[in-house]
Subunit: 367 residues, 2 copies
């Protein structure tokens, strides 16, 4: 079991995680931030942010606090070949240096693709989900994965390459009501948006596996479950797939959103029953990781508690989830840090959760 964290909001922005980066614009997503800023402003804003969000000292911090694996979301324009976006491969290079220096492993996570795979803000462009409908998008994503795999294949800190973050399912698309929750700025750009079909995803995952495996024979290849974990039973079998991991994202807010606020005991029961059950069941078939999770329940109760009561609430949530993740090969908390003054976001910030002892002091007891 590897304990880990996401470097969210570093190379792929999410407005809620650091709203000040969107100041002076009406942008709700990174694509529109690039579009609204002048070229000079965009270059400055992204450069200073990328230079400062994390650095060597942060990896020292993570290593000292029991973290072993760093999942790094990257955009499809990382190589700087998609104007007007400025690439950021040199930052991933740096992260590999830091990781090596401090004994960490890295999971590269392709978090956005042209046309987007989910319509979330974190897919780059709200309300748009057309990636899978254009063969040139798919081919471009495959070449990015190939180049990433080739670049780091021999780096001692490479753990794996994740093909695609959170391609959305029909069920989740309907539950969230993507067009309403994440309205597209330009309806024409969003035309034809729809969830990513399982049939497409299976083909894409096979193709991506072949390309990554050819470029990096020893890398772990990670596949997000696309919010349909039960549908992968029997899919990732040897010899077609070797050294692969199925990634599932488990957030307690999904319970709150679908069925309202619950008591702490209810959340603990949900973790022990549904979360643990899903992880255990999937892990019988293929190695599983929980690539995103955090302590937030999104319940009002979590925001009104203070002091020791608040600590105890989150600590019990933490202990229950860590127990549920035991059958997995790895987990990575979402996320390392946030810059928001809204206390309801506090449990998303792993650094804060460590300092406030919401997480157990020794995260990696085996090390």
């Amino acid at each position: 079991m590897m304990t880990g964290v996401n470097l969210g909001n570093w190379l792929v922005l999410e407005k809620w995680m650091s709203p000040e980066l969107f100041d002076g614009t009406s942008a709700e997503d990174e694509v529109h931030l690039w579009r609204e800023l002048s070229e000079t402003a965009a270059r400055e804003r992204f450069k200073v942010h990328r230079d400062s969000w994390v650095a060597d000292r942060d990896v020292v911090y993570l290593a000292a606090n029991g973290i072993e694996l760093i999942r790094i979301p990257v955009p499809y324009f990382i190589f700087g070949d998609v104007p007007p976006y400025v690439g950021c491969i040199e930052y991933l290079d740096k992260a590999f240096e830091w990781a090596q220096r401090h004994g960490q492993k890295i999971l590269i996570d392709l978090h956005t693709v042209p046309g987007s795979q989910n319509g979330f803000d974190n897919g780059g462009i709200c309300g748009v989900c057309t990636f899978h409908k254009k063969p040139e998008n798919v081919e471009f994503a495959l070449t990015v994965l190939e180049r990433l795999a080739a670049r780091y294949r021999d780096h001692p800190s490479l753990w794996g390459v994740q093909v695609l973050n959170e391609p959305i399912s029909q069920e989740l698309w309907d539950a969230i009501d993507i067009p309403t929750r994440y309205p597209a700025v330009d309806p024409e750009e969003a035309a034809g948006s729809e969830p990513v079909p399982t049939e497409f995803l299976q083909r894409f995952y096979r193709d991506a596996y072949a390309r990554i495996r050819a470029a990096a024979p020893n890398a772990t290849v990670v596949f997000h479950d696309g919010f349909r974990i039960a549908e992968w039973k029997g899919f990732f079998t040897e010899p077609d797939f070797e050294n692969v991991v199925l990634d599932t994202h488990l957030y307690l807010m999904t319970l709150t959103w679908s069925a309202g606020d619950h008591s702490l005991d209810d959340y603990l029961a949900f973790i022990a029953d549904r979360f643990a059950g899903d992880v255990r069941e999937a892990a019988r078939d293929v190695p599983v990781m929980i690539g995103e999770w955090c302590l937030d329940t999104a319940a009002t109760e979590a925001t009104v508690l203070s002091g020791e009561e608040r600590r105890s609430y989150f600590r019990r949530i933490a202990d229950a989830q860590l127990r549920a993740w035991e059958p997995a090969v790895a987990w990575t908390y979402w996320s390392y840090k946030l810059h928001t003054d809204d206390p309801k976001h506090d449990p998303w910030d792993m650094g804060r959760a460590i300092e406030l002892r919401w997480l157990p002091e020794e995260l990696a007891p085996g090390t």
Copy 2:
């Protein structure tokens, strides 16, 4: 005894602490960075930096690690009334909110003044030291101090206001050879530069005390010793001065620079003899704080050690200095964080020193 830290390189930049902020320019100091960047670029660069260098979560970290006092260097243009500089008072406001939320006290430190008081890069403009020669400069600095004192006088997190950081002495000016070590870009601008005379400093300190005390009756007023600690004997006496603290900055690199590399035992003896002696002697006369110090010895040995040997080296330096500071009312480490990939700067980063256990785990045993 209050344990503390400096938020260096936040509202007053020092190139060596985050060189990337100076990319694309030939600037060696903050004044020239503002001059070389276009207005759009400067606004973006400073805004993103100020938004991101520290935030609420950092104060959570400091509180969890035994810090009680935060010294915040601020520039003389903090109120935004000196074009082309963009003011930053709203960031100091935020720091006060964070400090209150997490039980911290703040020492506001006027770190730069028009014309500069030392010719260091951290005074804003290398090789220039003419502040004391122009009455309008002096009056402007006094109004800034007055406004700062008035703004935060009733804030529960205000501990004190420091009149002026590091006005340079003749002795240090000569030892460092300021014109050579910090060459001025524009010789005309540097014309007439010279160390700050003690006579001027005494008058300025009296005036500043009166203005701050009138604006904030309960604030501690802090005076840097101007690198001439022995000269203040009998100066800060009641009733002329009440609730004041004399600030001295003690860096081991001064020994290395003046007399070459020493062994660890030599540094420990120097701390126990000179540093402890100076602090003890001054503290007989007036409450003393060590407003800047760190673990660096600037000796080659400190950079070649690794692992447990490196930890032990710095831990012994730390323990010796913490013992030497015991007669003081407070100390503030320089600095909270740095973004440099040069390991020789590691001991300047308090967060790193905490995580690597170069500093004792319980910094504030009384709390």
